[in-house]
Symmetry: C2
Subunit: 198 residues, 2 copies
DNA sequence: GCAGAAAACGAACGTTCGTGCTATTTTGCT
DNA sequence: AGCAAAATAGCACGAACGTTCGTTTTCTGC
């Protein structure tokens, strides 16, 4: 790996943290260059536009998410263990130190929800994939007999996302110390509702 | 009402819509002035800083929310009718035409969750109040015997907020046409879980 | 309808934004 | 060690940002 690729990777890592606090638009070339102790133009040369930088930040974060949340959780056995692993790792992700401002995707989702363009489109793709992973995980559990037939995977996915977003809101904005406990309880209730009668 | 107060009110109305799309930081003096067909300085004179403008936008939106969501819902009888009214009007609020970018408070919550200052503090107050209204409404329902004793008002409030946020995400970002139906179903499930065994 | 007050304007300020250039330095290879 | 290529720096640009100022227009009360 050449030096160029190396610096670019380091920039993206820093940019991801910055974006979690200030949003993708808040990842300003000047601020990022100052943090990296690089000149504005030197940093800018790595990407060729701000839009490209934003796209790469999104790509970087998505790869991290797959690495730290999805992949290890998919190693768990189907049914409740896998769903619990997804949820727990998701919680951990949004609290992880490289994301001082909370989950980058939450920030980006609100920021881009009515700002058309390639960045928004990529984010939509990522989010759809993630919701798909949740829904599929439930579906596989249904097929394995762990959850009852009436359980609706897409409803479940949206519901779990809601639990996460409410946690994010109560925790990051309101600083409510009970937010995490409530999030876990809400998730357990969702699981229980899907559980097959034995 | 003097002319000054009148224009300021008109500005705040427009600013609220703008903020729902671009966030409170995105309510730029220049853009707002252009929309109002006013000079930058003429508009600026009404408020004396951008921070004051943001605070007044928040105040204006909160008053609207009380007027269109909370007050009419509290006129409904305690128990399920009141909670349903709160939820339905909340849904309507985030789709209402003066908020082309969705719920202003959702946007502001994510934007300000790690930006200290008076604007953030005011938002926290507003959000706590709103969660309090939801929790209290369930509590009154418990006391009236409509919900069972084990129901946790604060858990319920966070859960309902989650339903709303997930709806916002699925609807505004993903343009999922089933988002609203799922939100209603999720809310009904929450209600059912709290309902007293007859 | 006139005087005084209130409201709106136009121009300018210092910064910061993203983005081009053209040097200069640093790297990697032979 | 030397040389081409890659990486970084320096500087400038036009635009937009919030804010200030002095002037001009528009209201309002007598």
């Amino acid at each position: 790996m050449g030096k160029g690729t190396l610096t670019r990777q380091a920039i993206l890592e820093r940019a991801t943290g910055l974006a979690s606090k200030a949003g993708l638009e808040g990842v300003t070339i000047g601020a990022l260059a100052a943090e990296m102790e690089l000149s504005k133009s030197g940093l800018f040369a790595h990407f060729h536009s701000k839009e490209a930088l934003q796209l790469q930040v999104l790509e970087f974060a998505a790869a991290q998410f797959v690495e730290h949340v999805i992949r290890p959780a998919l190693a768990e056995p189907r049914g409740e263990p896998r769903l619990r692993a997804l949820f727990e790792r998701w919680l951990g992700w949004s609290q992880s130190s490289p994301l001082p401002g909370g989950c980058l995707f939450v920030q980006a989702s609100v920021e881009l929800d009515d700002r058309p363009g390639s960045v928004r489109e990529r984010l939509v793709g990522i989010q759809r994939q993630w919701l798909g992973v949740i829904a599929t995980s439930l579906q596989k559990g249904i097929e394995a007999g762990a959850f009852h037939d009436g359980a609706d995977p897409e409803q479940f996915a949206q519901d779990v996302y809601g639990v996460m977003l409410a946690y994010h809101h109560a925790s990051r904005l309101l600083h409510d110390p009970r937010a995490e406990t409530r999030a876990r309880r809400a998730f357990e209730t969702l699981l229980a509702a899907a559980r097959a009668a034995h």
